[in-house]
């Protein structure tokens, strides 16, 4: 087995991590397995579900679709960085208020997608909310309460 290790430096939620990683390691496995930031999840292996969504240098990405080495030198935001200390972000609080989560497995990715959406478009229409979340699968809620939560957070 050929193994190519590479040293990378990635800043996640303001903390910089320097690690040796295998060249083929996915960014999501780096975040979850190497750094033990287990808030971001894996729900498929094909880039469909969005449970692994994070914000990388300001852009929403699915971290299972990137190699860890591609994040070298980048700043990554994950769900663990959304709250301000004990205070949930407006979006997180809105998810709670609107029962926009059940099992909570898709929630971190959903929050990151919605966060990216609201940064780009602080007052999205219903259709824009749906388009902004179409890359994230939820199997529990049917999305309706998620739409409500995002809309309320945008007001």
């Amino acid at each position: 087995m050929v193994s190519t290790e590479q040293r990378i430096s990635v800043t996640i939620n303001g903390t910089t991590y320097e690690r040796e990683v295998e060249a083929r390691k996915l960014l999501i496995h780096f975040i979850r397995d190497d750094l033990d930031l287990t808030g971001s999840h894996i729900g498929c292996d094909t880039g469909n579900c969005g449970a692994c969504s994070v914000i990388l240098d300001g852009r929403l990405v699915k971290s299972c679709m990137l190699l860890a080495v591609q994040a070298d030198g980048s700043a990554v935001e994950t769900v663990e960085g959304l709250a301000d200390g004990d205070e949930l972000s407006k979006l997180q609080q809105s998810f709670k208020d609107h029962h926009a989560l059940q099992c909570g497995y898709c929630t971190p990715g959903m929050l990151m997608s919605a966060t990216a959406l609201l940064r780009a478009n602080p007052h999205p229409s219903e259709d824009e909310i749906k388009k902004g979340l179409q890359g994230n699968i939820c199997r529990c809620t049917g999305y309706w309460n998620i739409f409500e939560a995002v809309k309320a957070a945008s007001e």
Binding site: V79, K96, C106, Y143, E148
Partner: protein, 822 residues
Amino acid sequence: MTTTTIAPEQTEVAQETWKGQSVPRKEDRRLLEGQGVFVDDVKRHGMGYIHFVRSPYGHAHISSIDVSKAEEIGGVYGTLTGEEVASLTDPFFQISSVPGANLKDYALAVGKVRYVGEAVVAVVAETRELARDASELVEIEYEPLPAVTDARHARDADAPTLHEDAGGNLMWEGVYEWGDLDAAFAEADKIVKIDELHFHRFNSTPLETNGALVEYNRGIGQWTIHTNNQFPGFAAIMMGPAMRCGLDKLRFVTQDIGGGFGNKITSHPQLVACCLLARKLGRPVQWTEWRTDFHMSMSHGNERWFQNTEVAVKDDGTLLGFRTTALDDAGAWLRYEPLGGVIWAQVTPGMYRWKHIRVDFQQVATNKAPCSPNRGYSRMQHLWFTERMIDIVAHELGLDPVEVRKRNYIRADEMPYETPNGCVYDSGDYARMLDIGLDLIDYAGIEARREEAESRGKLLGVGIGSTLDSGTNNFAQSQLINPELQFSGNNEVATVKLDIFGEIVVTLGTTPQGQGHETTASQVVADILKCSLEDVHVRSGHDSYWNSHAGFSGTYASQFAVTGLTAVKGATEMLAAEIKQLAGAVFGGVPPEALEFADGGVRIAESPEAFLPFMACGAIINANNAGLPDDLNVTLNCRYVYKPPFQVPDIERKFGNLTLTYATQIHVAVVEIDPETGYYDIVDYVAIDDCGKRINPQIVEGQVMGATAQALGAVMHEQFTYDEDGNLLTPNFYDYHVPHALDMPPLKTGSIESPSPFTELGTKGMGEGGGAGIHSVCAAIQDALRGHGDAVVWDSSNPYHRVWEMLQHPAEAGGSVSVVSA
């Protein structure tokens, strides 16, 4: 925005209680902060990652297996083969009577593979990537065999046999007959004959796949299984005898579970493989199923054919009875099956008053993934069939489907209603629910909308899905499958204690996957002890070490609101009585009836200044008990086992009560079809729910919404499709399309509350939704096709191309129906 919620019609004056309020969920904060603990989050020093090598063939003999090249790789910790499994374990206990009873089912394939994706070898390595790579070096030689993937041909003379031990592909069969079929068909004005209906294969695809982290404690010979299995009681019963160990050696631990929907009940084969590897390799092992592995191998919903159906009906639409042959496709193994062969009987007549029913039920094996419970398990198939019969009868006889339903619905004044097979529907008002639904959809204006749609070249149809969510199983129904089985009744456990500093600590036997058990359990406890929700600490998940579980513990089959919460209520009432005993003694002999709870403590009602806080109670019993009266036998640590009032049914007649409660859903769908392409949109949708008393209405509504979305995905898109060689054509979320945000139609919800007379809290289990969305969309398409070829919607799967075929070639589209005058 897209949802409209209609407040429930209150059946009682609202009281000042936590129950009945949509309090925010206790679970949410950790989940929103990314601090939930799901099984793949659990790590141990030196753990190995498991990858399963799976069969590329639908059916083949295994000629040889060579793991040597894989094991030579640095970082590979070891392997496990079927041969080792067969020597270290016994086959899993089979629920079925013969011939299914003869199956020899192990954790890994032994000698033969029977479906694409069947686990053959397990490889354990230092990293996930290495385990996967090393699996490529496992050399397995197969001799391919012909496969059978169509249940209708599984018993053909030339069909390949999956299990030689069973002597053929029939796994189980039973005849269910109640009433007087001959008389019903003699009395009928018309007999509607439906050649074939098909309920397709799909499942709920929880976003988190199955997994486990297993540690073996060599000194005491015990495994700790961190897992997301949703029915540890069942897993333990399956695993202990197979692994030749007592259940004390199997400790199950769960915390957060990323969706279950029944699909995480039958992971016991993989868990056994994990246990054997943890022992063999002397290190913790971790298994997280890949998405494709889940699709290929885990818990497909029962695929069912209904053949040669005949419905006896009067000219006015009065339904007298029906007979059919139900052919159930179990897939390659019976992992929970053939229980699907009886579970449907919980809802034998659907929501209708017909009395004369015969179902010839057969279950066969095919070279496809094993079927196991999926949200709405087995009842959904039967209720879809029931609803299809109603709409087809209405369609063929030119009757209004609304009128046929109202004429035949069991009436509110007939509740509790004994069904022809002895089940007792506890409460409900189906006609009123339908009226609310029709009102919300503006049914009075539907013909105008139909005309307006036609002016745009669209076909509009409206359809109703009436359905039941039967909850709290009487496990004695398994004896209708196999009289030798020794299962009956049901149970669930809770413990509630006061700790030293007055903490109210609750443990459950359940394994919630998003249903909010920590929240609703707190609501029940806080009402009894008159405290705040924050004062109640409900431990997350399940742990065999808590001693708060029994044989049927888990979260499945719509029962927590009855079994779990009644156990919580029972344990809390025991604790309340003990606290009063203690306080009475402390106050110098005050009787319990003179005491009351308030403000986080207990006081004398007549002189409230005599107050003992819970903290003092906890401290006295746990740490300061000298001088207490000798006859004060309180522990402030109370365990209650809830046991529903069930009897064993009459096995010969297949007659008796199979479930305690019947929640109801009535959905109404409006679709618009483009006749050129078959593409359709759901343009209006209403879901009306009745689950008795609701502890937390917001959580209930969330379940209604989720079940609706899953049903819409199932009817429009989702299917596990196989080719004739047994290759799964939808092994990932590219090919298996689950609903996305843009797929969601506008939704209106409403509810009524018909408290169950059979449960202490008036609650009914709910959450499965009975597939109402499938029923209503099929009915709506049927309605839209009226006068446009009049094809019969004969399949539960209706992707756009099938609708196009029904429009273009209605005669060949399937589902041949005829009406005979009796």
